[in-house]
Subunit: 545 residues, 2 copies
Amino acid sequence: MNIALAQLNYRIGDFEQNVARIIAGIHKAKEAGSDLVVFAELSVCGYPPRDFLEFDDFIEKCYKGVLRIAEECTDIAAIIGSPSVNPAEKGKPLYNTAYFLADGRVQSLVHKTLLPNYDVFDEYRYFEPNRLPYDVVEYRGRRIALTICEDLWNIGDDPLYVRNPMDELIRLNPDLLINIAASPFHYGQAADRFDVLRRNAITYGIPVFYVNHVGGQTELLFDGGSMVINAGGDLVSCLKRFQEDFSVFDTEALNPGPFQDPEDRSVISLIYDGLVMGIRDYFHKMGFSKAILGLSGGIDSAVTLVLAAEALGKDNVKAVLLPSEFSSDHSIKDAKDLAVNLQVEYEIIPIDESFRAIGHSLEPLFRGQPFNLTEENLQARIRAVILMALSNKFGYILLNTSNKSEAAVGYGTLYGDMCGGLSVLGDVYKTQVYELAGYINSGREVIPRNSIIKPPSAELRPGQKDSDSLPEYDILDKILYQYIEKRKGPKELLEEGFEEATVKLVLRLVNTSEYKRYQTPPILRVSPKAFGMGRRMPIVGKYLS
Amino acid sequence: MNIALAQLNYRIGDFEQNVARIIAGIHKAKEAGSDLVVFAELSVCGYPPRDFLEFDDFIEKCYKGVLRIAEECTDIAAIIGSPSVNPAEKGKPLYNTAYFLADGRVQSLVHKTLLPNYDVFDEYRYFEPNRLPYDVVEYRGRRIALTICEDLWNIGDDPLYVRNPMDELIRLNPDLLINIAASPFHYGQAADRFDVLRRNAITYGIPVFYVNHVGGQTELLFDGGSMVINAGGDLVSCLKRFQEDFSVFDTEALNPGPFQDPEDRSVISLIYDGLVMGIRDYFHKMGFSKAILGLSGGIDSAVTLVLAAEALGKDNVKAVLLPSEFSSDHSIKDAKDLAVNLQVEYEIIPIDESFRAIGHSLEPLFRGQPFNLTEENLQARIRAVILMALSNKFGYILLNTSNKSEAAVGYGTLYGDMCGGLSVLGDVYKTQVYELAGYINSGREVIPRNSIIKPPSAELRPGQKDSDSLPEYDILDKILYQYIEKRKGPKELLEEGFEEATVKLVLRLVNTSEYKRYQTPPILRVSPKAFGMGRRMPIVGKYLS
């Protein structure tokens, strides 16, 4: 039997386009002599559809899409994902369903049993878990165990669910396992995913055919990496990462491929590719083409500019230098050098006159007050006002250049440098931003060396350095990683050898900055724990703060 | 048996304070001769603790709190709420638990079975549902059916869950039903709540003792309204709304009280009280005392100022008039009149000079471009920059004055009038803002009549009116309510008689403004469907847009 895997980039709620692309995939598979073509979880509506699922109109459009696609399934079968209505009186109104289509109509439905409801996932918000007894899907003499994403993930040492669908399905003697998924990217996810799928293949002794989404959905990035693993647990082949792909496999010839590790790349190269895809899809799917950003001469805006130029093309990116009296000469030079290296258009708009004018209007109230954080924030906010004016006038989308370390400890100005339509580096710690710069500069000096080696500074007052207010980034980032990604508490952090005063300071800064992060742009997620939908914290509270 | 209900205002993660207050409640109940005192769901840690629940340190502190409280339970029993660790190998790591404390120690644990995971609720994110067989809690000869909030809510016509705890518990012949809750306010919630509790009393033929939280937790408001209903379904008594309260009931004398409707008040008076409590608790719990806002002479900022003065005291509120060349004389007069009426301090800071200076720095790029939305937004953003400078310099928290209609259709400037630490009216439609103004003005003219009767305008260009860009608010708000609160689709809206072009426009505006709402301040929730955590929508997407 020939099975085609179609790894596509869907747009949420765009039924016309999603259905057309699935139908095109069916025809392509038919031409390639496939018996069956497999698409991803909730492919008809895109993932994650979120609260659109609460609209009857949305669900109706999903159904119409399924029926339209089924019509095309002649001489070929297809598996697609779409919500379906729970006909029972009790329970949530919907199922997350895999539809098996053949002979021009819907042949059978399989509902997802294990509904992820952690980190960025909210599936129990919408869906009833399958409680029906399982059945295999029979097609052209093969018995298929059809499952949806999380259904295969309860195989580890610390099972999150009390039920394990494959333990029940395997009793029905399936010949192969198909899993349709919506498994978002983070830099360690492909390795986890391969491990889980491999364990399933080995445990149940049947080959696994796995189809994932690809593409950016605002903050959530899908890296594709659909794959086939044979009954012995060998990787037969893995589809491309970060782009659409399509491949046909013969179930009778599932030989081990040349590569046995789908994650044979550095973390930094994965982050780079993820961010480029994320920027590109955000713009294209929102219908925008041009980005603007403030270029300070520092490392964060430099790396953001490189990523944006790669994603959108150098002609679609504009850099703006916004010097104040506290900007150093080398910063302006570094920023210019980078723009020239990248052949990106840049403007210089000094903010002194605006700073003086606003200062003048505040003078009656500020008289006698010393220069402090207020004036620092004021500079950052004037820059934002100017960037947003350019954005509004010429249709650019402002890219935010804050990194994860700053976002974590609140080292940024709300409505100032925290502005933007999309945060590119908000899930990348400062020390990782340096690694990205190194990766970008491998071979040639794109980002001026000076931007990399100079001590980080916001340049909002004379001689300012980040280390005046914060621990050195190599210490800070380690504590942040343990607290944010690993959920370590103060006691555990002390046991790991961090200084007590530093730990207390950092945890307090993180916990008292929730109000700032609440108002930041969506952050492209590249780590297992990003700020945003995947990390939900009270603003008002009193814990480690 | 005497049962005390203790309705308290907790602070999330503030174990020291929460435990102290619970212990004080135990002593108070003991002095009042109670056999048992009941506190709310998750009272030890506060509600909602959100992802703090993922920290072992947090859970340990919850346990310590429980044990400390148990020590005080001599000659009295107490019921408190706190997470507990799921000892089973499979399933989520925690339960949402009611602890029964007596004789100085923990006597028994009851886990929540039905975990709300819709709207603002995320309980399945953290908790395993109870799967154990039920038991009653026996104390001083009484058999108590102990349940937690949602456990009683599966009694309607369209049950959301497949299990109904009381159907199982009633077989054990309990004498009374106790429910500890964290049931947030919206203007229709008290009526729903009374109905549900009443149905339980009548269906199972036993009295219901119900204890809720009170107080604001950022956007979530808890209105208290703890109550006792006798076995016949009569309301015995309802504790105060929007404030702490304490009351003792004799199980042998549960006579019907004088009022049988706990919701005997206008929607607008409820919204008013909810917003005042929400502002007050946000400030007090964050450790702030003073608010600032931009006063335009329009109705939204006028109502916000009145609410803030009521919540924080007139001496803790500052109004700032920020006129531009497009501000009308009457607007400045109306704003001043209101400040004078309320005896609130105000400042006038014209923005013309700042507008010219920023315009001048943009001139090389803007030359030849017409005045458009850019210059309108620029004014709004300069106002925000000035307000934030005052906030930074003097420690005021900026209150956002946008209403729900504007937030819905994106009629506001990001980083301009959409700024603020807290959105006061972001869940109040424009037509309801007028009703609030009427409620405030009942008896005397606090808000100048002119602010109420003049056509709404942002005054960002000559002669501008809201109705230039938007349908009239009485139409707009009706469509918004049907789409947002009722999840009606385009077909249903047309059937209700709205014009097709208007429906299309409004739905498109709502769906394409998600990117703006993503960056707005937390919004005090007063309706069944507020923007924020309770309404989760994709930003990138293509549905009705």
